[in-house]
């Protein structure tokens, strides 16, 4: 049997001979030490249809399929549009986890484009899809935030070229656009012709698909422009593609809009489930491939069976047409949001930007673009992890691409050790002088050492970190090797944090935990820098006074150590809070989770307050014009918490003339705003913890004693990773927890009342934030604040109901006949409490 230069040989006799030669002992085959679980799991039983892809269906070659008329070369306009629409579905399915062979290249036209060279539109579209796939693969590989479970980029055996970045447009690129232009012009001509049997609608839809594809490719090309991504151009093209697809929504003939859809629910991880405003009643429907493939002209899901790896095949659910359309709209919106990164000018703004973007649960492509733009290499600059001089620096950030990363061990799919880890601080018995020679900072320009600002301002750099720490850009380079070392290591830590936050949420949480070691090392570097002669002299010279009260007999960290502690606490907090989003915690664990979260939040608050109250001296020009820091209002319990008043409106505070003054003022504004956020979060966490304690006192949390371990072990399981990884914030123990949540002397009613008071304070802070001019300038925050207000309000009511129930059963040695419902719909990390009668 010969086909496509592949010769098939019957190896049955060989196998029989080999089997006969084996010892008769059962199990001998697996005796090899190298035969691990991975090998065992990867092995395939030939002939078992559950795992041997070759057994899935009767094979038909591409030639046979074409000969049987599965992909006629001459198509009516409707049929052509149908093929193109189906390709869009396949592209969307590929970008969210399907393999190329089973999605885009299940299209017979894509496999043999020469056959349709006479069809201007379909040929141009197929060639454009090819180019789009190449570009996406490249971006995903360069982006370094997407794993195989997100998007499968294997292209073995498919007629797809690797994208080669070049300064000048390639022949393929030029041809692609020429063909698209010609096809679009042709469609336009057809649309202009007198109406005939609804062809206007078909040709308009065809033209729109071609136009959207062209702009999508041009947008990606602009991003990949070697050495200097053209963000403005990319944004224009993505906006145009979005507009075209949105117009098309109203014009497309939807004769098959729901065809082939089954009642299978879409994955909960679908990007369409994100809060991006994409709508459509067909969103929750997905179509199973096998059922649908036969019904689609020009597609066959078994045609590439020989190219799929011989392991058990992953199930593919092809998106419905509406789902695919919504996916593309969502993707383009997210790409637009990614490109707004150009407005980021400070570390604080970058942090906020990444946090907000990660909340969108964006598709792999837009996450990859985001990280690609943050990489210095994308801008023709050296990688800071490579430029960084420490001797212990052994790994580089983003060293491996998904395509080259071997599949994870199925028994332990956790990430490998994160690339580009922070090197430990020197442990020389003379920690200061002399600094190891290897650690002497490189003075060659790079994003990490270049403090002049030649790199795009949103890329993490020494200058960005220095500004955030309150050191002027000019001073930083003269503050000695320890400060430079600290800045360089900070660039790596922050870069790794950005990368972690742009992965899928499951990976993000794990990466945040693994990166705690980096933060731990960075704290050591910060301490070295804080106490270096150059930095202490700088502080003295500029009059930057810092509290010197000892903590447990130790001097407190200086500004740099405090900055690291603040960031570390934030990272630990994110790690814990993501467990709520991923539904990792049971109700019986909520007390300890909110307790630890609250401790970390308070730690962040304390560090932020210190940074805010002990600022670096303002730059000279600003010292005259800058308004004084508003005094903190002290509030008793009756008046609610002490709330930092809103800063003056941005327009009045940012009048300084000069980047140093502006940066100083921006830092102050950010810290002020963040204090409010932290206070609100602290009271929310405190309220939740107290409510849970009250609910537990009422006996409404089932927590039977398990047979093998106790609460102490479960506490260790949740927080053990902190021990050994970080020094500050100091990791806490189970004993600390038990001492802290000792409710002796507090009955359920009292605890619930305390919880209610905390929720009241949350509402006060929210009201304050919402009424402030600052909040009104941030519509996204405003929406979040409204949700926070609703949840806090509902929780107050629930606490009231539970407290009343508590007083009714008091002394009766019984528990209320009610169930508590924890609804995380509005705020993913804080439940809206509901109370339901269990009678």
């Amino acid at each position: 049997m010969r086909e496509l230069n592949i010769e098939y040989i019957d190896i049955s006799p060989l196998l029989e001979k080999a089997a006969a030669a084996l010892p008769t002992d059962k199990g001998t085959v697996i005796h090899g030490e190298a035969f691990s679980l991975f090998e065992a799991m990867s092995a395939v039983e030939i002939g078992n249809p559950k795992m041997d892809v070759g057994m899935l269906a009767a094979p038909k070659t591409l030639d046979q399929l074409i000969a049987d008329g599965a992909a006629p070369a001459d198509l009516s306009p409707e049929q052509r549009l149908e093929v193109m629409e189906r390709l869009l579905q396949m592209e969307a399915t590929w970008q969210t986890g399907g393999s190329l062979a089973q999605t885009v290249f299940s299209c017979l036209y894509m496999l043999r484009t020469a056959r349709i060279a006479h069809d201007v539109c379909l040929h141009a579209y197929c060639m454009a899809v090819c180019r789009s796939c190449s570009l996406i693969r490249y971006i995903i590989m360069q982006g370094g935030v997407v794993e195989e479970e997100d998007c499968n980029i294997h292209m073995f055996g498919l007629p797809l070229n690797e994208y080669q970045p070049a300064i000048t447009p390639s022949v393929e690129e030029v041809q692609c656009f020429l063909q698209l232009e010609t096809a679009i012009a042709f469609c336009h001509t057809m649309v202009e012709k007198p109406e005939k049997e609804g062809h206007h609608v078909v040709w308009t839809a065809t033209r729109d698909l071609l136009s959207a594809k062209k702009d999508m490719i041009k947008g990606m090309d602009s991003i990949l422009r070697r050495g200097k991504p053209d963000i403005t151009s990319a944004l224009q093209h993505f906006s145009k593609a979005l507009s075209t697809l949105q117009q098309k929504d109203g014009s497309v003939p939807d004769t098959k809009m729901t065809e082939g859809c089954t009642s299978t629910s879409a994955s909960t991880s679908s990007p369409l489930n994100s809060k991006d405003g994409v709508q459509g009643e067909g969103m929750s429907k997905a179509s199973t491939k096998s059922a649908e493939a036969a019904e689609h002209l020009g597609f066959d899901d078994s045609v590439n069976r020989n190219l799929v790896i011989p392991s058990p095949p992953r199930a593919i659910k092809v998106m419905s047409r509406l789902e695919a359309r919504n996916y593309m709209l969502s993707l383009l919106k997210h790409l637009g949001q990614v490109l707004s990164i150009t407005s980021v000018t400070s570390y604080e703004a970058l942090h906020t930007f990444i946090l907000n973007f990660s909340c969108l649960k964006a598709a792999p492509l837009s996450r990859s673009v985001a990280h690609y733009l943050l990489l210095p290499q994308s801008w023709g600059l050296p990688d800071p992890a490579l430029a960084s001089p420490p001797a212990q620096q052994t790994e580089q950030r983003d060293g491996t691409s998904p395509s080259t990363t071997p599949p994870a061990d199925p028994a332990d799919p956790a990430d490998p050790v994160p690339e580009g880890s922070i090197s430990p601080a020197s442990s020389s018995p003379h920690p200061h002088p002399p600094t190891p020679a290897a650690a002497t900072p490189d003075t060659s320009p790079s994003p990490s050492t270049d403090l002049s600002g030649s790199a795009p301002h949103f890329i993490v750099s020494n200058a960005m970190i220095a500004t955030s720490c309150g050191i002027g850009v000019e001073e930083a380079s003269s503050l000695g090797p320890d400060v430079m070392m600290f800045l360089e290591q900070s660039v790596i830590a922050v870069g790794n944090w950005c990368q972690a936050m742009l992965m899928n949420p499951c990976r993000t949480r794990r990466r945040l935990r693994k990166a705690l070691g980096d933060w731990g090392n960075l704290f050591d570097h910060a301490i070295n820098a804080d106490f270096s002669p150059e930095f202490t002299a700088f502080m003295k010279r500029t009059g930057w006074s810092w509290p010197q009260e000892t903590i447990s007999g130790m001097p407190p960290p200086g500004p740099l150590g405090t900055w690291v502690e603040r960031e570390t606490a934030g990272s630990m907090l994110q790690h814990l809070l993501m467990g709520f989003q991923l539904e990792l915690y049971e109700a019986k664990e909520y007390i300890m989770m909110y307790w630890y979260c609250d401790v970390l939040c308070n730690c962040q608050k304390t560090a932020t307050k210190l940074l805010l109250d002990t600022p670096p001296p303002p730059p000279k020009q600003l010292s005259k014009a800058a308004p004084k820091l508003p005094a903190r209002k002290s509030g008793g319990k009756k008046n609610g918490p002490s709330v930092t008043p809103p800063p003056p409106a941005a327009s009045t505070t940012l009048q300084s003339d000069g980047p140093a003054q502006l940066a100083w003022e921006q830092r102050r504004l950010f810290l002020q705003r963040d204090m409010l956020r932290l206070e609100r979060t602290h009271f929310m966490m405190s309220g939740c913890m107290k409510a849970m304690l009250g609910i537990k006192e009422l006996g409404l949390v089932k927590a039977p004693q398990p047979p093998f371990n106790s609460m102490a072990q479960r506490f260790d399981q949740r927080f053990a990773a902190f021990h050994g990884a970080v020094v500050r914030p100091e990791p806490l123990t189970y004993v600390d927890f038990m001492a802290s949540v000792d409710t002796t002397g507090f009955d359920a009613s009292k605890l619930l009342q305390m919880a209610s008071e905390a929720f009241t304070v949350v509402r006060q802070i929210v009201k304050h934030e919402m009424s402030s001019a600052l909040a009104q300038q941030l519509p996204v925050d405003l929406m979040h604040l409204k949700d926070m207000d609703r949840v806090a309000g509902q929780n107050m009511l629930a606490c009231g109901v539970l407290a009343r129930a508590s007083s009714q059963v008091e002394g009766a040695a019984q528990q209320p006949t009610m169930n508590v419902i924890y609804d995380f719909t509005l705020l993913q990390v804080f439940p809206a409490l509901g109370v339901k009668s269990s009678k």
Partner: protein, 201 residues
Amino acid sequence: MASSAFTDSTASTSGVIYRQYRDESDLPTVMHLIDNELSEPYTIYTYRYFLHQWPKLCYFAYDGDKAFGTVVCKMDVHRDHMRGYVAMLVVDKAYRGKGAGSELVKMAIREMIQNGCEEVVLEAEVSNTGALKLYQALGFIRDKRLHRYYLNGVDAYRLKLLLPLTEEQEALLRLKEQNCVSVDASSGSVLTASTQIEIKA
């Protein structure tokens, strides 16, 4: 890797006999039970991988002479700790809800504890509420979520059970920590902040 099949049941499990795996003559029973219930396809190599190396960590539940449930596990060193792993757990639909699955897992874990395991892990589909309840009642927590872990595209939870250390294990741990400190100090890798401050002051 493992899925666990559990839902409601009405069948009686009175008179259930539990026994350990003996030899490869039990292999077809394991395969039959698992292939019938779990969605993930396993090869003979996978079964043999577990059963050849850790036969003592496989148990059956019998109703008379009918095997209706089995658990397949392993244990080995993971980052300096002995870790048990529940690979597969199956109870025939007709016998579910009576605690046989829980009993099978408990027997395997007891065996793991005897052999020095400090923790036990496994994976379960996020939608398999029956299995999740079973393991959570045994003290497992949801340690991680694994995105699109199964071939059907469904996420998995990595469940983990941390076991209390025996006195011997605690002593060994202390020794390891001491060694670790001395190794770090000699290789000059990590210093705690407090040490540094002390020296500087």
